[in-house]
Symmetry: C2
Subunit: 462 residues, 2 copies
């Protein structure tokens, strides 16, 4: 423990500067305008893995963006850890809300990050958390303390639903063979209370298009006489929740497992202040499904949110027009046992049925993934718990996250191994939002904690 602390202390500035260089590349996978940047980022990750001490690193082509694979095999008889991460990032917009340019990283102090945090798109999700693993490997190689084999699989399409990853995993089962999968793409409760994510929600993401008249119309001459696609879309969206904020899609909840009172009481023990939560978001009150707490609403319950909506005249001033088309992007977060393909079908059938005769509706599935729950009695979980405890001096709490990493369920299916999610970011780090940041403390603490996982996992696997 002291050795790694010292090593991190001596190389702190370099570790930060290397990450900053990586963050300068705008690897936005959702927007084809950045495709060259995404590819350049893959090359940068490859170089960093070689520098860190991998024996073999390659850029693996896929139908989409490439996957960076690296490995260091020291002994076939020792366990193998597969590290997964992603080098692509979310779009930065709304850019005008960033206090500093999203791809010009700067270090600023915040209340939660008194030692400073790196502000940049991807700082926490996931370049920063992915790069912790690269630096942890560097340390273990330099200090000759790597206790087992390690493989890296760093993809560039996570923020658009990992369309090529399944394709890659199915074709490379031997190459990816492992005893445990390690991911840092989640968060922890606080810098003084680490936690391990034991559950992820699934996802179904669709785009809907409502078409009324075949052209934009003058709202005076046609107003009130034809179905207005925007009004209709609003009405259809409104009907997706009832007065208790239950989702109204028939069959939506059929496979949702109700947690026992005990399980819910256990969850409720995690430290949480509703006042602090409301204050941090500057909202008068929370809002969600009746009879569930905030922490239940965003973890063990499925949800439906409109992520974007547009139609008609959105420019300066006023235009008295009835639009021909209105659009929305809608995503549903799913819980274990809900199948995202089935949910997508249920949504499509229900949403289409809500349309009045005066309009036509098109639903286009974007992507999705299954939910996941990992047992807390596995070797991997125990090793992670010991690592956090040794590094933070306090036992980590298992938590179910509301987020989705669609490929985790796929890994278990294809690679037959458990995934351990060791997150070091905070919910307040504004991932997917303007001013995303990652604490210097969290970044360095992650680099310190990861080698401890390697140690404990190897020992517990004996």
């Amino acid at each position: 423990m002291d050795n790694i602390k010292n090593y991190v202390g001596q190389n702190k500035d370099r570790f930060i500067n290397e990450l900053i260089e990586l963050l300068k590349i705008p690897s936005v996978s959702a927007d084809s305008a950045y495709s060259q940047d995404v590819i350049n980022t893959a090359d940068a990750v490859k170089a960093s893995l070689e520098k860190a001490g991998c024996d073999h690193v390659e850029i693996c082509e896929t139908p989409g963006y490439p996957i960076v694979y690296g490995e260091k095999i020291i002994d076939k008889n020792l366990p193998t850890i597969l590290v997964y991460g992603h080098y692509d990032v979310q779009p930065a917009d709304p850019v005008e809300l960033w206090t500093s340019p999203p791809f010009e990283p700067v270090i600023k102090k915040t209340d939660l990050h008194p030692e400073g945090a790196i502000f940049a798109r991807g700082a926490c999700d996931d370049k920063g958390q992915m790069y912790m693993h690269v630096k942890a490997l560097e340390y273990m190689v330099q200090s000759n303390s790597l206790p087992c084999n390690v493989k890296f699989m760093i993809e560039g399409e996570e923020e658009v639903g990992s369309p090529s990853l399944a394709w890659f995993v199915e074709r490379n089962q031997d190459k990816l063979a492992n005893d445990v999968i390690l991911i840092s793409d989640t968060g922890m409760i606080s810098n003084t209370q680490p936690s391990i994510t034991t559950g992820l929600r699934g996802l179904s993401y669709v785009e809907v298009e409502v078409t009324g008249p075949n052209r934009d119309l003058h709202s005076g001459l046609y107003g009130g006489a034809v179905a207005n696609p925007i009004n209709v879309l609003a009405k259809m969206i409104a009907q997706l929740h009832d007065e208790n904020n239950h989702i109204t899609i028939p069959g939506f909840y059929d496979k949702v497992e109700e947690l026992t009172r005990d399980e819910r009481d256990e969850m409720a023990k995690a430290p949480f202040s509703l006042d602090a939560y409301k204050q941090a978001l500057d909202i008068q009150d929370v809002y969600g499904e009746a009879t569930y707490t905030t922490n239940e609403r965003n973890s063990i319950r499925p949800t439906l949110d409109v992520n974007g909506i547009w139609g008609g005249y959105t420019g300066e001033g006023a235009k008295t027009v009835i639009a021909s088309k209105a659009y929305a992007k809608i995503s549903m977060r799913l819980v274990p046992a809900q199948d995202w393909n089935e949910i997508t079908e249920l949504f499509t059938r229900h949403f289409t049925s809500l349309a009045p005769k005066g309009v036509r509706v098109k639903v286009t599935p974007h992507h999705g993934g299954q939910a996941y729950v990992t047992p807390i009695d596995s070797v991997g979980y125990k090793a992670a718990a010991l690592a956090y405890e040794e590094s933070f001096g306090i036992k980590p709490i298992p938590v179910r996250s509301g987020g989705s990493i669609p490929i985790v369920a796929l890994f278990e299916k294809e690679l037959k191994s458990k995934t351990i999610m060791m997150g070091f970011g905070l919910d307040s780090d504004a991932i997917h939002s303007p001013n995303e940041h990652f604490g210097i403390f969290n970044y360095l603490k992650g680099i310190e904690t990861i080698p401890l996982f390697y140690k404990h996992f190897t020992e517990l696997s004996k």
Copy 2:
């Protein structure tokens, strides 16, 4: 009648080319990016009035865009006609739906315009219909047949609610003194069935902003736990109509006059084919307030339409975000006796009351205007009816339009004179829409008909 027909025949090409030059200037008053073009258009209108034979023309500055005033006073004892029109146009977007650039006029034949129509933003609304009056004056001056005095007041802010016109009219009552106001900014039933617009709807146009959390949030970590401004906005918009498509704003209908069965039967006599209407718009069915016909819904009934909506991620691909803000532009068409200021207040109070505690709502009034109905026994109406009958060979039908010309009510109040709306465009001319056009037949027929109004109005005024 023959003289004017001959004159139009001889000068047809020049009349068309002059209008095309005017249409090339993108005088979009809603978008400040075009402010210089708007001003240049005022200068072009001034020049055209001088060329047509006005004795005195001036550019009158206002707090907003200038008003072009012109006059030809031949005898203080003769009646005076005040011609009102506007030289500004609606925004052209969505530009990608235009089959030819909106400000590069081209002549194309259509089923309804076998002699061809000029396609350009403003072709019909209102540059084309305004310019008919300039050319009609030219004829009367050239042929020495102007029977009365004429004044022109051509503004540049009609498409944004004429914010400066009231200011101008109140300060220039003597200058604008007249016996009748003549406007061509409406339509007629068809090229074989002329009609005179006897009613206009009022307007209240507002913009709403719904704010939830103080920043965009990750929809996985917060989805289901906080009010999503887009879902909330959709729910609020949906609640503005009930299941019969009645507007739910308390007090909204209090001052709406119900027409008698006889009046409604009279209206129903206007030629109208619901099938042709649906086919022209490519819609399976119409949609609107229960117990009213299509022609009633868009003329004698008040309506509420969302003209634009936006919020969250609207770019390419998928972004799992909960937006901090969502916006909509909403307009209400009003009928006589509904006061637009009062309705704006009723809307604001009601809409704000629909918001759950988790969001903040801001309603910003854009502009508005009162509805108007003109009696059909006035000298002006009779003169217009005779002019159409002489020119088209068939009696015109009085119709109530669904559109709004907010300043017509103002004219009656300030200038104490009736307004006659002689429209020559067709509803299918796509005003406010991509591919706006104005039939060559309609343009020339208007130029031929207007001098007949001057003749009959002067005679009937004796």
